[in-house]
């Protein structure tokens, strides 16, 4: 019985990554200086007499995984749970309280969460909701390349861990964070709308103060940012966090510049069924990009197959039997065991590649930001203070750029089919497999611990 469960959902998995870049290459956007008439209410929105627009401590633009992750951790930290939070997202799922049914077909949009992310989720109390839903731990990971020379198999036991990670559908991750948030008494308001414009005072009240020779006019400099929404509502916030993905409106409005790479690649995602239960994450480096097979529970696996756009177009139009054959062909050859997925039916479609680590970096950012805010509250800082965010930036930028460069390096290394290079790559993979300290380092880095392999 081989059945395709679903392969018809596009998702820009790359979004997290870009967002993260926006998130840390510039401060998440903050602004300072209150209007003199403004009133702050620690327990939620309160009207300002002039504009009647509610005022919040923090406005999170984008109630996706990262935005909800931030809201949850703010709600759970003892020093931040009193803050009033606005979440701006037009996604109706945020207002929907029905839970996901166990027998719903799996969502092909899945994320591989690392042990570090798992412990962050446990910390905020969201993991227990995931455990009630479909999720799949994997304790083995096999990486091999297309020449068949290089081969590495990681085992959770190598690093004295139970699991190497867990594959969870994105909608389950999101739902769990939402349930977790609803459990808390965080003063939150969800605005089911989109951000239209953002009017902010000077990025630093202190700078503005320093530059003025007289003290007049200080009162006019708001330390609040005014957010106008597409449905005509508006609100004020001390701190605005852009968690609205790769095409971040916050970033655009704030004029935050980003630097980055362009990948002329797409990924095809779909769910496949195996003949036996799978607890191993498979990844094969092919000349056009990696093909990953992630267990998602029972006998199902999720395929993320990265390739160039032209190729993805032809794969998408294939019929299911051809697609299965193509997948099996791509997994064929080389040493070691390999999965033999059997798929049929439906049509594949494309997403952006390198989705796997993005969400972990995004969660890492969200929790780090929450920690910095909490530390700021502890010493009585204004949460919109620039120095706080500089700390966040310093904390996250290094970590994220290192991870991105490594992912990028992997892709570049495998995009060339050249004899000697093939041999070096294979040797590197073997090295990673047979030099235990190196292997342990790589596993713990991939697990989300913020240390670079080799250098520690």
């Amino acid at each position: 019985m081989n059945r395709l469960v679903s392969k018809n959902c596009t998702w820009n998995g790359y979004g997290w990554k870009i967002m993260r870049r926006a998130f840390c290459s510039d401060v998440p956007l903050n602004v300072s200086g209150t209007s003199s008439s403004g009133t702050i209410n620690d327990h939620g929105a309160k009207n300002e007499h002039e504009t009647a627009a509610p005022q919040f401590d923090i406005a999170i633009i984008g109630g996706g995984l990262v935005g909800m992750g931030l809201a949850c951790s703010l709600a759970r930290m003892p020093l931040t749970k009193h803050l009033s939070v606005a979440i701006v997202d037009s996604n109706p799922a945020l207002l929907n309280t029905t839970s996901i049914k166990k027998d719903d077909p799996p969502d092909p949009r899945v994320s591989t969460v690392t042990p570090t992310t798992i412990s962050l989720f446990k910390g905020v109390g969201a993991w227990k909701y995931i455990e009630q839903q479909r999720h799949a731990y994997f304790d083995k990971m096999q990486v091999w390349d297309y020449t068949g020379l290089g081969f590495t198999r990681y085992n959770a036991r190598d690093v004295n861990k139970e699991v190497l990670g867990c594959v969870v559908e994105n909608k389950i991750l999101h739902r769990s964070l939402l349930s977790c948030l609803q459990d808390t008494d965080l003063q939150k308001t969800i605005f089911s709308s989109r951000l239209a414009s953002m009017i902010s005072g000077p990025t630093s009240a202190s700078k503005a103060l320093g530059n003025t020779s007289s003290t007049e006019g200080l009162r006019d400099r708001g330390n609040l940012t005014k957010l106008e929404l597409s449905d005509g509502n508006s609100l004020y916030a001390k701190l605005v966090v852009g968690a609205d993905g790769s095409k971040s409106r916050v970033r655009e409005l704030a004029g935050i510049k980003t630097t980055g790479w362009n990948y002329s690649q797409n990924a095809i995602i779909c769910t496949v069924e195996h003949t036996a239960e799978n607890r191993c994450a498979w990844q094969r480096f092919l000349p056009n990009g990696p093909l990953a097979l992630l267990p998602i529970g029972d006998r199902y696996s999720n395929i993320v197959w990265t390739m160039d756009p032209k190729e993805s177009l032809s794969r998408k139009t294939m019929n299911d039997d051809e697609f299965v054959r193509a997948v099996n062909h791509a997994l064929d050859g080389g040493y070691g065991p390999r999965p033999k997925p059997q798929v049929s039916g439906g049509g594949a479609h494309t997403v952006h590649p390198l989705a796997g680590q993005g969400v972990n970096m995004g969660f890492g950012d969200a929790f780090a930001l929450c920690k910095v805010i909490s530390e700021g509250v502890a010493v009585g800082s204004d949460i919109g203070e620039v120095s706080l965010l500089q700390k966040y930036e310093a904390d996250r930028k290094t970590a994220n750029i290192a991870m991105m460069a490594i992912l990028d390096g992997f892709q570049k290394a495998y995009s060339v089919d050249f004899g000697p290079l093939n041999f070096i790559r294979a040797a590197a993979l073997y090295g990673a497999n047979y030099i235990p300290p190196l292997k342990r380092n790589i596993i713990s880095y991939a697990s989300g611990e913020q240390r670079l392999p080799i250098f520690t």
């Binding site: 200086g33 209150t34 003199s36 403004g38 009133t39 702050i40 003892p78 020093l79 931040t80 009193h82 630093s204 009240a205 202190s206 700078k207 103060l209 320093g210 530059n211 003025t212 020779s213 007289s214 003290t215 200080l218 009162r219 400099r221 330390n223 530390e375 700021g376 509250v377 502890a378 010493v379 009585g380 800082s381 204004d382 620039v386 120095s387």
Partner: protein, 287 residues
């Protein structure tokens, strides 16, 4: 001033030699002596200080201005205050406003960079400073945020508050004692402002050779973090002296910590090295 400049150009940096003169000249925070010393000389000294502080008062809240060192040191000072005072008053440090219901006075509050965080931590704060313009700036800045707008700022001195018979649960004088004319009298005033079993927190710079190199040569001359002449080495107190002075004013020191600057990360941290910057917390033993 003119005299000082001339002397400084003639005599190379020798703390012991320039001390006696500078000791007289550099007293930004003039207070208690106004009652005991001849009024004429005091008012002129006071005037010098007022002019000096007024000149840079606008930049109190410029995180990159002359008060930058205080800004970057501030979270570290507050971390010490938070942990010691939470323990002292039996408050839960895991709350956002642990000092709710407590009356604090920030003596030598400047632009209010300590008063505002204390108010956000829930304390009922009175900020006093002898420089009128500091108070104006502090007032304006605190009004920007309703939480800090409740701070009472007054242009006065610790001594005058004592005369008014004011009392506070905690009295804080951070980076002030090295600027006062008579530390002993100053400490006595701080003690009198503290309720019995209340807390007194003082931070200053040690009179060590290392402090001379760091706080004066490095901070004022090499790095130019501080305006030249901000500090006078000879008026620094050693931790031992501070403990003694406070003891005589019936404040017994409970805890002391040093501030250490890490030039690589550009941040301060608490340490047991009290060789340069240090902070002390004591309790008022009897009334």
């Amino acid at each position: 001033m003119a005299l000082l400049t001339r002397i400084r150009t003639r005599i190379p940096l020798g703390p012991t030699r320039i001390c006696p003169l500078r000791l007289i000249q550099w007293r930004p925070y003039s207070n208690h002596q106004s009652t005991s010393a001849p009024a004429s000389s005091i008012s002129s000294l006071n005037q010098t200080e007022l002019v000096k502080f007024s000149a840079i008062a606008d930049s109190w809240w410029d995180a990159d201005g002359p008060f930058r060192p205080l800004h970057i040191m501030n979270p570290t000072r507050l971390a010490f205050i938070r942990s010691t005072l939470c323990r002292h008053f039996g408050k839960d440090p895991n709350t956002a406003r642990p000092f709710e219901g407590l009356k604090f006075v920030d003596v030598g509050c400047g632009g209010g960079i300590l008063s505002e965080p204390l108010a956000r931590m829930g304390a009922t704060v009175t900020g006093v400073d002898a420089v009128d313009k500091n108070i104006t700036i502090a007032r304006l800045h605190a009004d920007l945020d309703p939480v800090t707008a409740s701070i009472e700022y007054r242009c006065t001195t610790a001594e005058k508050l004592v005369e008014e018979r004011k009392e506070f649960d905690a009295v804080l004088a951070l980076e002030v004692i090295e600027h006062v004319a008579n530390p002993t009298e100053f400490c006595k005033s701080l003690s009198e402002l503290t309720v019995t079993q209340g807390a007194t927190v003082i931070s200053t710079i040690n009179r060590s050779m290392r402090a001379y190199a760091m706080a004066i040569v490095a901070a004022e001359y090499l790095l130019q973090w501080l305006p030249k002449g901000t500090h006078d080495w000879s008026s620094f107190l050693t931790p031992e002296e501070l403990v003694l002075i406070l003891q005589r004013s019936s404040v017994s020191i409970q805890e002391m910590a040093g501030f250490v600057y890490n030039p690589l990360s550009g941040s301060w941290s608490l340490s047991d090295d009290i060789g340069v910057n240090f902070i002390a917390y004591g309790t008022k033993t009897y009334g």
